[in-house]
Amino acid sequence: MRPAMSETAPRPPRVILEEEAGPARLDHGWEGGTEPASIPSAGFSTLSLLAIGLSALILGFAALAAGNYVAEQFARAAWLGWLTLLVALGGFGTIFWAILREFRALLLLREVDAARAAFARGDFTGAKAHVLSWAEPIPLAAPFLPALREAPDLPALRALLESGPLASLDGESRLIGRLAAVQGFAATAISPSPALDALVVGWRGLRLVRQVAALHGMRPGIAATASLLRRAAFDAATVAATEVATDTAVRAIVSNPLVGHVVGEAATGAVAARRLITLARATSSACRILPTN
């Protein structure tokens, strides 16, 4: 027999059952409380707004003026009107086609973002859909499509992506980067002035970004290239950070007086070449459907 609870104890332990039924589980609001902190998007930047307004004015007024002009031409003669309409449609059509292409390239970048978010959420169906629509236009990913379609779960999908299309894409990107580095180095070696060096390397860098993006199934125009460059600079900070060490080492070697005497002006070219390789890696990392591990 256990002794009974004492009446003199200050506050005996007690269980008080509640009469009214509550929810089946206690909810601490834990899921919402632990959400990763995110900085809300400020919407369009001032520069973007200015650019949108300016383009709307230029294109809108140009279209209106063209309309007026076509109407005037029709008043003069029917055949003249038709010819003017054809020219106007051709011109504006090409412009709109370019804009559309630009937006599609930007949308593809969004696809990459959406797939990354789906992977982070652990949403298998969403991730699979995004991965498949991302992989379809990429020639390098074609042999892996059947396996990707059959992936049973998220880790398998991730592993298939890493070992298949992403491994090939990373390899190709490195190759393109190396080629650009060699070309950049050669160009700086023969260029007559340092100012021209910067121009050549800058142009080669831009082309490199577009080449790597094309490899990942994108056809970036000016806006998409700018967006990619921004992502390559910020999103892939880790890639750049690890590259800083190599960069410093290259600089230390080529700026050594003895080595410098031998290689002469080519030293700056070597640093620039090294940077092109970094740029290729950063761009590849920005276009990657899975974040670089």
Partner: protein
Amino acid sequence: MTPDPFRLITDAASRTGEAALALAGRERLRLAVTGLSRAGKTVFLTSLVANLVAAGAGRRTLPALEATSGRLRAARTVPPGVEATPRFDAEAHLAALAADPPEWPARTEDLSTLSVLLTLRRRGIYGQVLPDREVTLDLLDYPGEWLLDLPMFAQDFAEWSDATLARLSTGIRAAPAAEFLAFARALPANAPAEDSLARRGHALYRAFLLDARDRLGLRFLQPGRFLNPGPSGDAPLLWFFPLPSAARESPLGELLARRHEAYLRDQRDRFLDPVFRRFDRQVVLVDVLGALHAGREAFEDTAEALSAISATLRYGRGWLDLLTGAGIARVAFAATKADHVPEVSRDSLASLLSDLVDAPRRRAEIAGASVSVHPVAAIRCTQEATAAHEGRVAPAVRGVLLENGRWATVDPGLVPARRPPESFWNAAYFEMPVFRPPALEAGGRAGVPHLGLDGLLSTLLGDAL
């Protein structure tokens, strides 16, 4: 445990290899989760893994752990390789807790291991240019009953029998052990090595152990595999029992001594070597509240069991420990189920635990290990509430009961800040109800609501991350 020169050399060799890997940014950290049976080891490990993995995905599940605020880039469980030990299935445990109706993990029956790989950005400005570090955290789950076998390694059959029989004859143990004691004392000085005698004695002793664990809430019960035979089940080497000195020279006594020796050898190979041979950090989980509510003897029994276990472990960082990796550098004592008391009582709970584990704490401190005490709830099942008592409002906790799904407010009563005086025990024998786990997301991507787990990890692992 006698030092074995061959073992020391192999330990030192593997330690050197690990030190080289650590220099290359790949460290291995062994965390021993120690706790008597029902202290909550399995739930603790499940919550630890879920919250680390969630923190690796950017969630703020462990805010007090500095590494998780920006430097932890990823945390994932290491995929299974060719290990012979079963894998600790954190996902399955979590799914069972999140299921409807929910289930707390059953009693652990066997060893299981799991490693979590943490990818961390390095500290400081140079850290930015060096590649990320990878820290592998080795975790292990095992039946808590087996832990009480550790003190047995320091005793031979005669010493163990004397100590056990002395304990059995006093206090609340005496009544349930009466039948076994009567049988053992009646054995003649020349008892034959008859199997039926050994089996009978073993059955009576085992029945006592089960009764003492399940009904009396006692923990200092040896040998552990009598209570929890593990996956290999019953085997002849288990058929022994403590024998009074009068019959120890008999053929039966010799048989029992041989079995006792074989049992220890088997436990060393099966349990001690894989678990307690080498580890760097230790967390000791103690269900202080359960022990407090089970009465004075159960409370003191828990203290004695913890002291006996810790006496067998090696703390500190001597040169030999550094070489063989045998010393424990940091120890954290955790008063589990801290969510069963209101916030105002949690400091008292920690302070009570600190008093309860005074002897092992001092031993560890003197040896140079850093020691801390925390109130922890690996899964928080209650919220703060108040309960009226004789017209006065007292702080309490509120949650859903597991058995019938009804909401209940529980006032756990006074939690003393140190070992309570005699008068306190008049109000003991309260069985804390089992709460339902809170609403959880089955995949565990958001981690698990907890209390103080981050603070504990910060003091235990913070320096290594």
